[in-house]
């Protein structure tokens, strides 16, 4: 595409699409009008023209496939994840009301309480993750609160029983500290150490906790010829909150750590739910000596319900269904819809909203 053609194509797009394209590319793009935004985008495009063009095409493609569905499709069986993906953009104000009755507040609130204590039985996915770690690297992508820590602890225990060193990384120093306390409680203070930029406590322990940056630096030093016993016996690297890979400032450190991770060590990546965990698994498989297995599920262990609380204290369910209607952002509860419309009317200067 010539710059001319690119400019024309950009000019034909709605401003919302331009803003999406500008995300992560143009600083403060929300302040720019269309003409200025196009100029900024063109300027940016010189950096990686091909990537820019293909992102643009992808957004245009996505937009085409997202034109509101014909109404007869609406009552079909639950959408498969694929179509779910495509119908992601909400049309809350256009989606026609369904005729199913809406859940009442009492039904929605029913069932609050504390479960009766159960003996601890690992979930199948937890066992699966541990088994798969015997034969390769593992990436776990499950909702928050599912029990990733159990996998980390058990995997660490097994590696240590094998006389292997384990390194556990977290993105924040504060999280490292919490884990240090937690792991010391589980394994005993002797077996756990923590490394920060300027300090090491029990730095020769078999289970070491550090931020990802510190591990990356250890790997730099090792590659540069500095001998580090801990890396020689390294059997397992656990990277918590691996979705930080996409952090604009620090994501690169996660990539480096994975690329330079010694080949004899297993990698266990723990991540909150992300859209493309299979890409990460495929990537790891393509660069590491062992295959990477993907453990993922998106069902929450404790069911989640969404509600709306009006400033006057009135509580109502947010959706028509008791649970979250996955794939149907427009299934608002009529009461929530009414109250929120009133809220917008009363608080927004007129004409600010669509």
């Amino acid at each position: 595409m010539t710059t001319d053609e690119l400019e024309k194509l950009l000019a034909q797009q709605p401003i919302a699409l331009l803003h999406r394209l500008a995300r992560g590319r143009v600083h403060r793009h929300f302040r720019a009008g269309k003409r200025r935004l196009i100029e900024l985008l063109l300027r940016h495009s010189a950096e990686n023209r091909a990537g820019f063009e293909s992102d643009l095409q992808a957004l245009i493609g996505e937009r085409k496939s997202q034109r509101p569905e014909p109404p007869q499709l609406r009552h079909q069986a639950p959408l498969s994840p694929r179509t779910d993906h495509q119908s992601r953009r909400p049309h809350p104000h256009h989606e026609p009301d369904s005729h199913e009755p809406s859940v009442s507040l009492a039904e929605w609130l029913a069932g609050i309480g504390v479960p009766t204590p159960q003996p601890f039985v690992p979930d199948p996915w937890q066992d699966d993750a541990l088994d798969k770690l015997e034969t390769g690297d593992v990436i776990v992508s499950v909702p928050t609160g599912s029990g990733k820590t159990y996998v980390a602890v058990e995997a660490a225990r097994r590696a240590m029983e094998d006389n292997r060193t384990v390194i556990y990384t977290s993105p924040l120093k504060a999280l490292s500290n919490t884990k240090y306390t937690e792991f010391s409680r589980i394994f005993g203070a002797d077996l756990v150490g923590i490394l920060t930029g300027d300090r090491r406590d029990n730095g020769q322990a078999p289970l070491l906790i550090m931020t990802t940056e510190i591990l990356r630096n250890l790997l730099y030093d090792a590659a540069g010829g500095e001998i580090d016993l801990r890396l020689d016996t390294l059997g397992l690297v656990i990277m918590d909150e691996s979705q930080y890979l996409a952090d604009p400032e620090r994501g690169v450190v996660w990539e480096e750590t994975i690329i330079f991770c010694p080949s004899q060590a297993r990698l266990l990546l723990l991540s909150a739910s992300i859209g493309n965990p299979h890409d990460i698994a495929d990537w790891l498989t393509s660069i590491r000596p062992v295959p990477c297995h993907l453990i993922k599920h998106s069902k929450r262990t404790v069911p989640l319900r969404a509600g709306y609380l009006h400033p006057d204290g009135k509580l109502t369910p947010l959706f028509r269904t008791i649970g979250i209607p996955h794939g149907h952002p427009g299934h608002w509860h009529p009461e929530a819809k009414r109250l929120f419309a009133r809220y917008e009317d009363e608080t927004m200067p007129s004409g600010r909203r669509r």
Binding site: T2, D4, R23, R28, A46, N48, R49, G51, P81, D84, H85, R89, L109, V114, T144, G145, L172, K173, A174, N177, I194, T196, G197, D198, E213, Y220, A223, G224, Q243, A246, D247, P248, G251, V252, E255, E256, I259, A272, S273, I274, G275, D279, R300, V302, L304, R305, A306, Y308, L309, H310, P311, L315, L318, I324, H326, P329, G330, W332, F340, T347
Partner: protein, 619 residues
Amino acid sequence: MPPSIHPVDLISALRQKHLTPAIVFLTSRRACDEAMQAFDHNEALLPPARQEAIAAVLDDVIAQYPSIAEHPLIPTVQRIGVAAHHAGHLPSWKIAVEELMRHGCLDAVFATTTLAAGVDFPARTVIITQSSIRKARDFTDLTIGEVQQIAGRAGRRGKDLVGFAIVTPSPYIDLAVLTKGFTGHPEAINSQFVITYPMVLNLLKAHPLDQMQSILAKSFAQFQLNQRAEVLERKLDDVHRQMEPYGPRVCTDWISQWHMFDQVRRQRSHRAPAKNHEPPEVAARFRFLTPGRVTGLSKARGVVLRQYRSKGQKSPMVTLLRPGGAITECPAAIVTDVFDRMLECKEAPSYPWCTPESLESLLQDLEDLPTRLPTLPILVSKDDEPIPDAVVQTLGDFSCPTCPSRSACQKDYLNASKLRQEQQRHMKSIQALRTSLWHRFQERIEALQKFGYLTATAQLTEAGEWARLIRIDHSLLITELIRSEAFTGADPSLLAAVMSSIAHDDDRPGLFPRISAGLGSLLGQVRKLAESLAPYEEPPLLRADIAAVTERWIADPQLTWIGLCKMTTMAEGDIYRLLARTLEFLSQLHTLKDTHPALADCASQAMAVLRRGVLEELP
């Protein structure tokens, strides 16, 4: 109706419906603090047993972290069972709140969404009050992943049968963003790989240059670029198939041949081109010459005030502001360089085409620009380049007029040439996707060679050998400062203060202690160097006011934490983070003990003084 629910009403509504404990995510630290203040005169006290339970947990935490013994929030926490937890607090306070939540002592915690990832405790209910979040000075809608990360704190496994995520509106909330977040599929994550100077130095220390491409190929960045390239390759295959009927004819490359012939024919028929032909570079550049753009002229620089086309000739024109204040109308062709720099320009409808204040600040900015500015790479479209006269003369040489495939060529030309353009475009894109990382790596190598960290054959020089140990942001500035001996003779407090002004990347205003004259002049020197490095590395904020906080802390070892906090309006947590980051930067200087013993020693003295009081509590 109030724009949002009162915190006291919120908590009593939640209690009444058995929806506690809850995490209430608010838009700002201030909102969290105000929510806590709202309980100051609240009479809904906890039963004594619960108050005692809270006191017991707090006692345990205080035993470990004495710094929070006098925390001003303790009375409210204990009486009401609510707490605040945000980045303005000390880590030890946050630990205390987390510990209280873990023991089930609290009914609610007010937290900021910015730190959703740092809030490592669950609750029965999560209250959401916003749909966008401040990122790099801009409000951006929450992504689906972020909404789910926030909502995901609701419902504790083993403690709750169900969890609740409840939205309560505040101004500017967009409920559609949240409903989409609840019901949607999280976004795919993308590589954010960048090539940094320390990365290049450390890689070249460990591996020969000819292995670099294969190492870069292992990145997730390249993996994703390859995925895109594969999509294009499939498209390319498709184009190839469509081009099959347009294979070689009487001439192998009949498309180019016909193109040339056709052009020449046309050019002949109009003796003089009707339209005034502007050179393609000028045309390509013209659209970048918008108000505020810094341009290079043959001798000086200028800022564009407006662009227009001349009346008769319709030729591209610009109005330029030159250093000294002259405003001139010139043809766009006199611009020799288009710089990658825009100045703030408030346009106006008549001469001088911008507001008077704007004119003034433009003039000032123009003077202040660094001597080197990156130019904007501008792609020139080659399609309508005029054909050289020499070719026109030789129309007789074309065999097209008498060729047997003439009519086929004439008929197919448009389609075939369009396909071929598409083919070339895809090939170029694929090429770019496959090689862009390597190009960026080479750019870094060139810069490191220019500054003498790498030899011409990309081996580490003596400077490169130690510079690779500096692995923090702004590494080039730091190593250049060391090489320019900026720190020679500086005492530990100056060194630490400069490091903290390099490390600190927050632009929040506030009140700070005065800086010493020595620090002021040293920072001036640092700023100058940082500006001269701007084409190679983004300069840090280099706030002098922030540096003063660190300077005081190191210069006066008797100063207490409370004393330090009183000198500035900065929040405790921010001071802590500033000093902790400074410690990190200093510890990198300390690694240079073999090559720069005096500097390393100075850094280690600074670290020893810095690490006292609160800074000593946590590893």
